[in-house]
């Protein structure tokens, strides 16, 4: 297993260089550049040309790429064109908010989705299953911005139970840590509820389908024929195998945990990575785009690796590093 992990980690190096090269060129192929934001009748084209030169954008793209790569190898991911801040700092400022929201959402989704999917599969065709199927399809069909706004109208405007926007209250700047933590949780409720409803709908369908598939297997029939209690059949024999698709999806979702959810973050004014990344793209803030892309690339690769390790943990038949 250790050899397998080391080999996979080493494979990451050429992969990341390839991704950085392709991303850099694709980003520069898109029309426009950072000075597009300065289009104003009071700004002369010469000024835009001067600013482009100050940013190094007057050089050929390949030269710009090697400058970027050289700096990255020294640990410098560049400076945001608009804030003058190092890219690493920009990402570090936004990452905790995104991680908090996304990890919480994923954990809650997992806690609910596995029993829900299993129960739905076991009760296939019964009222619960049908009710939950309707809920799932509704959840998948509802746009996140609409659901978010409706929850805001209900819980913030009508009931005044939760704040509509933001991550924390400015009044509690000097409060003790647990008060601050409670305040963040209070603010997080609505975005978290929106995300959980939406992801629950999809994930539980995967879990239900996987469980139904496993329940048809011969070894489940054998287990039942042996007279094992249904709980043991379901939770000991069926569930571990039925978790494989969920683990795959979880692994692939890892990058999403860091890149954030743009629409949710925008609606709830949550200061996360999603907003930062999309804003960087629209403003052609190349160093910041590359920073976000590279972070996502590393995480997707690590997510895949973790998913592979996860298979071995949930399925005893899967072992790595042995021929």
């Amino acid at each position: 297993m250790r050899k397998f992990v080391i080999r996979r980690l080493l494979q990451l190096i050429p992969l990341l260089i390839g991704i950085s090269l392709i991303s850099f060129f694709v980003i520069h192929l898109a029309p426009g550049d950072p000075t597009n934001l300065f289009v104003d009748p009071s700004v002369q084209p010469e000024e835009l040309a001067r600013i482009r030169a100050n940013f190094g954008l007057d050089k050929p793209v390949i030269v710009q790429y090697f400058y970027w790569l050289k700096n990255v190898l020294r640990g410098d991911f560049g400076t945001s064109y608009f804030t003058g801040k190092p890219v690493v700092l920009e990402i570090a400022e936004r990452l905790p908010a995104t991680l908090l929201l996304m990890v919480s959402s994923m954990l809650i989704t997992l806690i609910i989705t596995i029993p829900l999917g299993v129960y739905s599969a076991v009760k296939k065709g019964k009222f619960f299953d049908q009710f939950f199927t309707v809920f799932s399809f509704a959840g998948m069909a509802i746009p996140s911005f609409w659901l978010g706004l409706m929850l805001m109208l209900l819980f913030a405007v009508q009931l005044h139970w939760f704040p509509a926007v933001g991550m924390f209250s400015y009044q509690l700047k000097d409060a003790v840590w647990y008060i601050k933590a409670l305040d963040v949780m209070h603010h997080m409720f609505l975005p978290l509820l929106t995300m959980t409803i939406l992801s629950l709908a999809g994930m539980s369908r995967y879990q239900r389908a996987a469980m139904l598939e496993v329940l048809k297997e011969e070894y489940i029939k054998t287990a039942r024929a042996k007279g094992l209690p249904e709980k043991v059949v379901i939770f000991k024999h069926a569930l571990r195998n039925a978790l494989i698709p969920t683990v795959t999806i979880l692994g692939l979702s890892l990058s999403g945990l860091f890149s954030g959810a743009f629409i949710i973050e925008t609606i709830f004014a949550w200061p996360g990575m999603g907003r930062l990344g999309v804003q960087a793209i629209f403003s052609r803030n190349y160093p910041l785009i590359m920073g976000v892309v590279m972070l996502s690339a590393v995480l997707i690769a690590l997510g895949n690796l973790l998913a592979d390790i996860g298979y071995a943990l949930v399925d005893p038949r899967i072992r790595y590093g042995k021929k």
């Binding site: 009071s42 003058g84 936004r94 911005f145 706004l149 405007v157 400015y170 925008t266």
Partner: protein, 544 residues
């Protein structure tokens, strides 16, 4: 019992929500407008906090570097300029007590207030003013404002006469300089010798304005606190909190929930906001116009008769009604009615399909069997380009497509991402690859339209439609150098008349801005100017 009450409240809320949703689609409802009800000064909370929303991220808090309106909104409270503009767009002293312009119009002398201090206690002097403008003129500083201080390739020189007097020496008279002289001043003692582009100051600014930065949580909020040593009128507010709420709908919800005190109201929510009793609605004109611009290098649009025909075929009232829900007025000249230089004594093209058809017939465009006009085998067909994400312009393009169909023109619409659209219209070489474009110009405080209309501004510049008129060129040059407002206004009136005759653009509308502001906020101007109800922020207060 409590449980039952809560359940009941929850159910009632859902029913209310559903009824609210049901109501929003009712466009036939009459608006019951009411007068603005402002609280009295005696109700003021001396330690009050105003909570405003910003639609975007604050990128940098240095007025010579920032390019976004959100950063500028916060900077406006932290920094001061030598002069500032009132709601009628007239200059008033700010850091300066007064100023004089030499007879030849080339030397502007500003006399600065004494006993003004930076928020860190350091005294403000003329050296700060010179440092600010010299920094803007430094090519290494990534500011887009440098060209404002370069006239015909020659930079304006700034000279410290004494500790409280500074002179700007211009190579030739230049009327728009008064606007650029209002630039916010940055402190020399904190920035001299530093790389301004990356200075820590940009995140921890020190100004001379009525408020000072107290807290900046990236992506969440910015807080400014009253500057107790402010040289001007002491602000009534203790704090202003700027919450960053990017979504327009979320801002309105936050206002309804009482989490913010003000939000802009888009046309779609206009009627609904009048039904909310806790807010005052302010409407005001802004310095902006939206237009359909013709590429005059395109053979179809080279003929002024054709352009006039399209002007007559444009039903601006319908556009304002359908696109803006009535929140705008028809535009006929390249300036907004709120500008002091506005003049509309120009030829106006009434919606008149008969006349439009007659003009096209006269220009040789004849209807074919498909109902499309043709001339020398070429159809009267063209494409309007618009930028993606601007719903108003998308709707306008569709309506214009239908309106022009009535005179036998076939119009296609192409929606482009903003950068892609700019790449076309800002192409460094002509002829540019577009037929017509819907865009808007946000106008500066000065009416100078040189960079949009002067023939020298094509292909590099914002005269991307290739408009050429020697008379207009001449008057634009005169308008920039004339310091007398009356004479300038007369010059611009002539420019507008000439442009209206030539129809290089069809001026579509002037939008009207609408703000909903909580009734707990006082000290506001009930009839605000284009800068909005919070222009005189020192007077604004909230009640206890």
């Amino acid at each position: 019992m409590i449980f039952k009450n809560r359940i009941g409240k929850f159910v009632i809320s859902i029913l209310l929500l559903l009824s609210l949703l049901g109501c929003t689609g009712d466009s036939s409802r009459e608006i019951k407008k009411r007068a603005v009800e402002l609280p009295k000064l005696s109700q003021m909370d001396p330690n009050g906090t105003l909570v405003l929303a910003l639609g975007g991220e604050v990128s940098i808090l240095n007025p010579i570097l920032s390019t976004d309106t959100t950063s500028s909104a916060v900077e406006g409270t932290i920094f001061s300029g030598m002069i500032r503009f009132n709601k009628h767009l007239e200059p008033e002293p700010d850091l300066a007590t007064h100023w004089k312009v030499s007879k030849d119009g080339k030397v502007w002398t500003f006399y600065l207030k004494k006993n003004v201090f930076w928020q860190d206690g350091h005294p403000f002097t003329a050296a700060d003013v010179k440092f600010t403008f010299d920094s803007i003129l430094n090519p290494k500083v990534n500011t887009v404002r440098r060209s404002n201080y370069i006239i015909d390739g020659v930079p304006i020189k700034f000279r410290v006469v004494d500790k409280y007097t500074v002179q700007a020496i211009l190579p030739k008279p230049y009327a728009p300089f008064i606007v650029h002289a209002a630039m916010s001043i940055i402190p020399k003692h904190l920035l001299a010798g530093k790389d301004i582009n990356r200075a820590e100051f940009n995140r921890n600014p020190i100004g001379t304005g009525p408020f000072k930065l107290a807290d900046w949580q990236v992506g969440n909020h910015v807080i400014v606190e009253r500057n107790e040593n402010y040289f001007g009128k002491k602000p009534c507010l203790k704090k202003i909190i700027y919450k960053i709420i990017p979504d327009e709908n979320a801002r309105l919800v936050a206002l309804e929930a009482g989490e913010i005190d003000s939000a802009g109201v888009p046309p779609k929510d206009y009627k609904r906001m009048w039904t909310i009793p806790s807010v005052n609605i302010f409407e005001y004109d802004v310095l902006l116009y939206v237009y359909l611009g013709f590429n005059l290098a395109n053979p179809i649009f080279r003929d002024v008769t054709v352009r006039q025909a399209f002007a007559h075929a444009t039903n601006k009232d319908q556009l304002i009604s359908l696109v803006l829900k009535g929140l705008g007025s028809r535009a006929d000249v390249p300036n907004a009615p709120v500008s002091w230089a506005y003049a509309d004594d120009v030829v106006k093209y009434k919606y008149d399909l008969k006349k439009a058809n007659a003009l096209l017939d006269q220009a040789g465009w004849k209807l074919n069997s498909d109902g499309i006009r043709e001339k020398n085998g070429k159809k009267l067909a063209f494409t309007i380009i618009i930028n993606q994400g601007n719903k108003e312009r998308e709707k306008a393009a569709i309506i214009l497509q239908q309106q022009y169909k009535k005179i036998g023109a076939k119009v296609k619409i192409r929606v482009l991402e903003w950068s892609a659209l700019l790449r076309i219209v800002n192409a460094p070489k002509g002829p540019k690859n577009f037929d017509a474009v819907i865009m808007g110009w946000s106008l500066g405080l000065d009416p100078d339209g040189y960079i949009i209309w002067h023939s020298s501004q094509y292909p590099r510049g914002f005269n991307f439609i290739d408009y050429k008129n020697k008379k207009v060129d001449h008057w634009l040059e005169v308008g920039r150098t004339e310091l007398n407002r009356k004479k300038r206004k007369a010059t611009y009136a002539k420019i507008y008349q000439e442009i209206a005759k030539d129809v290089p653009y069809i001026f579509l509308w002037y939008p009207r801005a609408v703000s909903a502001i909580s009734k707990r906020v006082g000290g506001l101007d009930p009839n605000p100017g284009p800068a909005g109800a919070f222009l005189d922020i020192e007077d604004v207060f909230v009640i206890k």
